[in-house]
C-alpha cells in the first residue's frame, strides 16, 4: 500500500472505534456461543479461547489506527487425558481463527507421526513439507505429538521432522497455526527434550477431566444429536453408571460415554426386537430405558465386589 492510501485509511488519533460492532461483524460471538452450548465444562479452555478472540479483535481495531504489532503467535499445545475433547476443540479453533481473519481458509489437517516421519533417509523432509503445505491457510493438528521424538533411538527421523516444523512455525506464522496434542506427562517429557518447541508455543492449554455431572450432560447432548433421549429412569440409571465406570480401568472420559451409549442403543434395539407383536410408537424408538443401561457389565462387576 502506498503512503497516500495508507494515510487515507488510517483513522485520526482521537477517532472512536466500536468494539461491539467489530465483534458483531466478525460473527465470533456466534461461534463462541456455539462452543458454550456444545462443549460442556472445559472452563480453562473456553477462557483461553475467549482471550485469544479478544486479542485478535483488539488487534484488528489497532490496525485501523495503523498501530502495527507483530502477528501474535498462536501455536498451541493441548494436553489432557483421553476423551477430554482436544480434537473437537481443535476443529472449532480452526473455525474461530478463520472468522477472526487470522487464518485464510480455516480448514483442519489432522496428522500423526506416520504422516510426518518417513521410513528412510531423505524421506522425512519432503513428507513433512507436503503436510505443512496442505495445512497452510488453516490449522495443522498433530495428535499424539510426543511420538515425534523418540529419545531411545538416536537414528530416529522424528527429530528431522521437528526441526522442519520449528522452522515453519517461526517463519510462516501468518500462514498456519500448529496445534500439538497429547497426554500431559508425555508432552512434558517431549517439551523437556525439545526446548525450542516449548518456547515457540505460546498457549499451553490443559484439558481437565470431566465431573460425573458434566459427563451426564454430555451423554444427553450426544443422544439428542442422534435423536434419542433417556426416559426418567434411564437417566437415573445412567447417572449411577457414570461414577462406577469412572472407577474402572481405561476410562476415557467422553469417549467412554459415547461407547456406553452406543452399547445401550444396541440393547435398546434388541429389546424392541424382543417385543414382537406389539406396534411400536415413535416414542419407543427414541427412548433409552433404564433396563438398557442396567444390564451393563459395569453393574455386574460392582455386585461381585
Amino acid at each position: 500500500m502506498d503512503e497516500a492510501k495508507l494515510a487515507e485509511t488510517t483513522l485520526p488519533d482521537d477517532a472512536p472505534v466500536d468494539l461491539e460492532a467489530e465483534l458483531k461483524s466478525s460473527n465470533v460471538q456466534e461461534v463462541l456461543d456455539k462452543l458454550d452450548r456444545e462443549l460442556i465444562g472445559l472452563k480453562p479452555v473456553k477462557t483461553r479461547i475467549r482471550e485469544i478472540a479478544a486479542l485478535l479483535l483488539v488487534d484488528r481495531l489497532r490496525k485501523k489506527f495503523a498501530l502495527s504489532s507483530e502477528t501474535p503467535t498462536l501455536h498451541m499445545c493441548f494436553t489432557g487425558n483421553p476423551g477430554t475433547g482436544k480434537t473437537t476443540v481443535a476443529s472449532r479453533m480452526a473455525e474461530i481463527l478463520h472468522r477472526l481473519g487470522y487464518v485464510r481458509e480455516g480448514h483442519l489437517v489432522t496428522v500423526t507421526r506416520d504422516d510426518l516421519v518417513g521410513q528412510y533417509i531423505g524421506h522425512t523432509a519432503p513428507k513433512t513439507k507436503e503436510v505443512i503445505k496442505k495445512a497452510m491457510g488453516g490449522v495443522l493438528f498433530i495428535d499424539e505429538a510426543y511420538y515425534l521424538y523418540k529419545p531411545e533411538n538416536e537414528r530416529d527421523y522424528g527429530a528431522e521432522s521437528i526441526e522442519i516444523l520449528l522452522q515453519v512455525m517461526e517463519n510462516n506464522r501468518d500462514d498456519l497455526v500448529v496445534i500439538l496434542a497429547g497426554y500431559k506427562d508425555r508432552m512434558d517429557k517431549f517439551f523437556n527434550s525439545n526446548p525450542g518447541m516449548r518456547s515457540r508455543i505460546a498457549h499451553h492449554v490443559d484439558f481437565p477431566d470431566y465431573s460425573p455431572d458434566e459427563l451426564l450432560a454430555i451423554a444427553k447432548l450426544m443422544l439428542a444429536q442422534q435423536n434419542y433421549r433417556f426416559s426418567a429412569e434411564g437417566e437415573k440409571a445412567f447417572a449411577e453408571y457414570i461414577p462406577l465406570r469412572m472407577k474402572m480401568d481405561h476410562f476415557a472420559n467422553a469417549r467412554s460415554i459415547r461407547n456406553a451409549l452406543d452399547r445401550s442403543r444396541l440393547r435398546q434395539a434388541n429389546r424392541l426386537f424382543a417385543t414382537k407383536g406389539r406396534k411400536l410408537s415413535r416414542n419407543d424408538l427414541i427412548t433409552i430405558e433404564a433396563e438398557d443401561i442396567m444390564v451393563s457389565r459395569v453393574f455386574e462387576e460392582q455386585d461381585k465386589k
Binding site: 481458509e105 480448514h107 519432503p126 507436503e130 503445505k133 496442505k134 497452510m136 491457510g137 510462516n172 500462514d175
Partner: protein, 144 residues
C-alpha cells in the same frame, strides 16, 4: 527498431506485462486451486519456445487449499536458481482435458540476451529460418 526491448522472454500467460508481484502470483494460484488444478513449479535455463519440458522443482502439489504453500516452494526455487527461468503450471486432470491449463513465469534471469534468427539457404533460393537462444551457446548452468 527494437521489437522487444530488454529481450524479455514472452512465453505463457502475462509475459507481456511487468513481472507479477508475489501478491498477484498468489491470486493466480488461488484461482487454479479453486478450480481443483494441481500446481507445480518448474525451472530451466534453456528457454527455447519448443523446449516444452522444463525441470520439475519438487513434486506437483495436490490437495492444497491455500496458495501459501506454493508461494513458499516458489521462493525456495528462486533461492536455489536465482538466475533461471521459473514458471508455475496448473494441471487440469479432468478426464478428456488432462493438460496444463495455466502457465506463467515467476522468475527471470537478470540479463536476458534473447534469441537470434539464423537463416539457412535451401535448394533454389529458398531460405529456412530458425531461432537460436544466445544463452545456450554456453554449457548448462553457466548460461545466465
Amino acid at each position: 527498431m527494437m521489437t522487444n526491448p530488454g529481450n524479455r522472454l514472452t512465453q505463457g500467460q502475462f509475459s507481456f506485462l511487468p513481472d507479477l508481484t508475489d501478491e498477484q502470483i498468489s491470486a493466480q494460484i488461488k484461482y487454479a486451486l479453486k478450480n481443483g488444478w494441481a500446481v507445480s513449479v518448474e525451472y530451466t535455463d534453456d528457454p527455447h519456445p519448443r523446449n516444452t519440458y522444463w525441470e520439475m522443482f519438487g513434486m506437483p502439489m495436490f490437495d492444497l487449499k491455500d496458495p501459501g504453500g506454493i508461494l513458499m516452494e516458489i521462493n525456495n526455487c528462486r533461492k536455489t536458481f536465482p538466475n533461471h527461468y521459473i514458471r508455475v503450471t496448473a494441471f487440469n486432470s479432468t478426464r478428456g482435458v488432462e493438460s496444463p491449463t495455466m502457465s506463467y513465469l515467476v522468475n527471470r534471469p537478470k540479463k536476458e540476451p534473447g534469441f537470434g534468427v539464423s537463416r539457412q539457404e535451401g535448394e533454389g533460393r529458398s531460405i529456412r529460418y530458425t531461432v537460436h537462444s544466445y544463452a545456450t551457446d554456453k554449457p548448462e548452468g553457466e548460461r545466465y
